[in-house]
């Protein structure tokens, strides 16, 4: 029954495009499940149906009369849409249409009860793949008929089932947390976790088998044909498998989070008092908070009731936090790789870290280039000490060959010549240029550097 309830949940979430109202779907499927479990019972009284509607439609109404009216509306709706009907005794039955619909969905979601079914499907899909790797046409047919229609829906279904089980476990533990004693709660948690972890282990094992498909595809001779259709299908298939593996990983992370809370329950005994006080504190805060009305309001219509602000009681201060960025940074070199801080913009944590990383890399490169250029300048100064005249074009080519970085050579030339001019060296440029055969697209004017004249 518990599993059927789960199916009911999944059913109502997933097939709303066929049954327009999710709650209608729950009512119909509840009747269907009940019929499966009590095969003798084929019809229901109107009161029974209304009770069922009341169970699923949780609508806030001021009076019982209004609630009765709402339930009646829903009942009439179900009748009007021909999901249910009255038999000759005026009792309610599911229509043939509903029965067929439910049967279809039941078949569709039934495999969720068996996470290991995927292994069997995988075996058969692998065999057919092996036989379909001789040519692209067979492979395309395999992809359409086996992968897209058989394996992929199964993987998707199993993943949804696992996600659903985790969500259900959370809901269940949240409920039990409120009612059970801690010792009982711990026992209950461990028991439930064990079932879930066992299910996930099975699913992980099944998913591991998916690697075999990737391997077969990587080794097939079709790779040698460079056929665009094959390449596209292969990529799409691998992407699909990666996607579901990622989803499975996420379920693992979610289970870990629940485990963490369960583990903490051992420490939590005795902290219940804090929770009780927290509850009192919160309700007290709610009671004592006041609205500050807006004067001359000009709100948009959809914000009509929105108050400008509220005031909290005296004993509850607003949450405050440090938020201060000084005018200048004390350690500028630490910030060199951090372009945002230079502008001192305040941005949220969600800013684009990738751009920051690129900017940081560029900055590192610039620093490295600057360091090397300084080295070449020192080198040139030493050479010029020993000679009266230096052929800068040769020096440039040496710098270019040695660093193998045209950007650095150009920036370096600019910087070195500027420095030398400042230091009163004579820089003489001719109309002829020099080219290094290794860099045929890069030329430099013939430049001579001469020591400063004593005059």
């Amino acid at each position: 029954m518990q599993n059927l309830e789960k199916i009911l949940e999944i059913f109502s979430e997933k097939f709303t495009h066929i049954v327009p109202n999710r709650t209608d779907a729950r009512v119909i499927f509840s009747l269907f499940i009940d019929g499966k479990q009590n095969q003798d019972k084929t019809s229901y009284s109107e009161i029974e149906i209304k009770e069922l509607i009341k169970k699923y439609y949780k609508e806030a109404t001021d009076t019982d009369r209004e609630q009765r009216k709402k339930v009646e509306e829903h009942l009439q709706n179900l009748l009007r849409q021909q999901f249910i009907d009255r038999n000759k005794d005026k009792r309610i039955v599911l229509t043939d249409y509903s029965l067929q619909l439910c049967n279809l969905f039941f078949e569709k979601v039934k495999p969720m009860l068996n996470p290991s079914k995927i292994e069997k499907i995988l075996e058969s899909v692998k065999t057919t793949l092996g036989n379909s790797c001789d040519n692209v046409e067979d492979f395309t047919i395999w992809y359409d008929t086996q992968f897209l229609k058989v394996l992929k829906p199964e993987i998707a279904t199993q993943t949804i089932a696992m996600e659903f089980q985790i969500a259900e476990l959370r809901k269940d533990l949240n409920e039990k947390f409120k009612t059970l004693q801690y010792e009982e709660l711990v026992d209950h948690c461990l028991q439930q976790m064990e079932l879930l972890i066992e299910g996930r282990k099975k699913l992980t094992k099944s998913f591991n088998g998916l690697d075999a498909i990737t391997e077969i595809l990587a080794e097939t001779s079709l790779n040698n044909l460079s056929d665009i259709d094959f390449i596209q299908i292969k990529n799409s298939l691998n992407e699909t498998l990666d996607h579901y593996k990622y989803k499975l990983e996420v379920t693992g992370e979610n289970i870990s989070k629940i485990k963490q809370v369960v583990r903490s329950l051992y420490d939590i005994i005795g902290k219940k008092a804090f929770d009780r006080k927290l509850e009192v504190f919160f309700y007290q805060l709610l009671e004592q908070s006041e609205t500050e009305k807006i004067q001359n309001r000009a709100d948009k219509e959809d914000n009509l009731f929105y108050s400008s602000e509220i005031s909290l009681p005296e004993n509850v201060q607003n949450i405050s936090f440090i938020k201060h960025n000084p005018d200048s940074f004390l350690f500028p070199e630490f910030y060199e790789n951090f372009n945002i801080s230079k502008n001192q913009k305040i941005e949220s944590v969600g800013r684009n870290l990738k751009n920051m990383e690129t900017a940081a890399q560029k900055s590192r490169k610039r620093q490295e280039q600057a360091r090397k250029i300084e080295g070449w300048l020192i080198n040139l100064r030493e050479q010029i000490k020993l000679k009266d005249e230096i052929d800068f074009s040769s020096f440039y080519n040496e710098m270019l060959n040695s660093e193998d970085d045209i950007e650095l050579a150009i920036k370096g030339t600019e910087h070195i010549l500027k420095k030398l001019r400042q230091e009163k060296y004579r820089v003489e440029t001719s109309r002829e240029f020099s080219i290094d055969p290794k860099y045929p697209n890069n030329a430099i004017w013939q430049i001579k550097i001469k020591k400063p004249s004593l005059n």
Partner: protein, 211 residues
């Protein structure tokens, strides 16, 4: 890497020194840093250089680099030393955002202890259906208890959404990128309890005094 600046000396481990600027910027923007997605590298930088950075913030700004180990994980943040004015300024959340933070913390702690991912709609449903919460929330935000209509829903959803954005700036929650309807509660959300622990523990006393 070592740096000398008047009286303050900062020596950080070489391998992740490039995280200093971003981490410092985040901390001084009110962010709480934990081992979570984009924050992980800054978190490990803090782990590796905690003592050095603690002294740095203490000497330079009279601010305390705090670390707290909650059930869900460890987190770092900057705060004042008790009764000592820091050179860093503070800002406050608006009262309605403060109220939201306490509401969310209470809801998580009491009703949804095992749920670390919640949705905005889930919160609006609690606000509209919880018999002890609904009357007060409606009084505060809608003037009085109202039927569920588009404007009332929009009002409550706006409060929830705006507040969540503010809490995200503190690193207490994370709005999921692929679905901003859902959000994850982060370990640093436990800071709410740290801020109000005295008020919560003395709640009976306060109630008696007020009465």
């Amino acid at each position: 890497m070592a740096n000398q600046d008047k009286e303050t000396f900062l020596e950080l481990k070489e391998h992740n020194v490039d995280r200093f600027a971003d981490t410092d910027f985040q901390l001084r923007s009110g962010m709480h840093i934990q081992d979570y997605k984009q924050q992980s590298r800054n978190f490990h930088f803090l782990e590796d250089n905690f003592q050095e950075l603690y002294s740095f913030y203490e000497k330079l700004y009279q601010a305390k680099l705090c670390v707290y180990q909650s059930i869900n994980g460890k987190f770092y943040y900057l705060d004042y030393f008790e009764e000592q004015k820091s050179k860093l300024q503070k800002e406050s959340l608006k009262p309605k955002q403060t109220l939201f933070a306490i509401f969310l913390y209470t809801l998580h702690r009491i009703e949804k202890r095992f749920s670390t991912t919640l949705s905005k709609q889930e919160l609006v449903e609690v606000l509209n259906n919880h018999s002890k919460i609904k009357p007060h929330i409606h009084r505060l935000f809608l003037g009085e208890e109202q039927e569920d209509t588009m404007p009332t829903q929009a009002t409550l959803l706006k409060w929830v959404s705006d507040s969540l954005k503010e809490l995200q700036k503190l690193g207490w929650i994370h709005l999921l990128e692929d679905d901003s309807e859902q959000f994850e509660l982060l370990p640093a959300f436990e800071r709410v309890a740290l801020i109000y622990q005295d008020a919560i523990n003395n709640v009976e006393e306060i109630r008696t005094t007020n009465a």
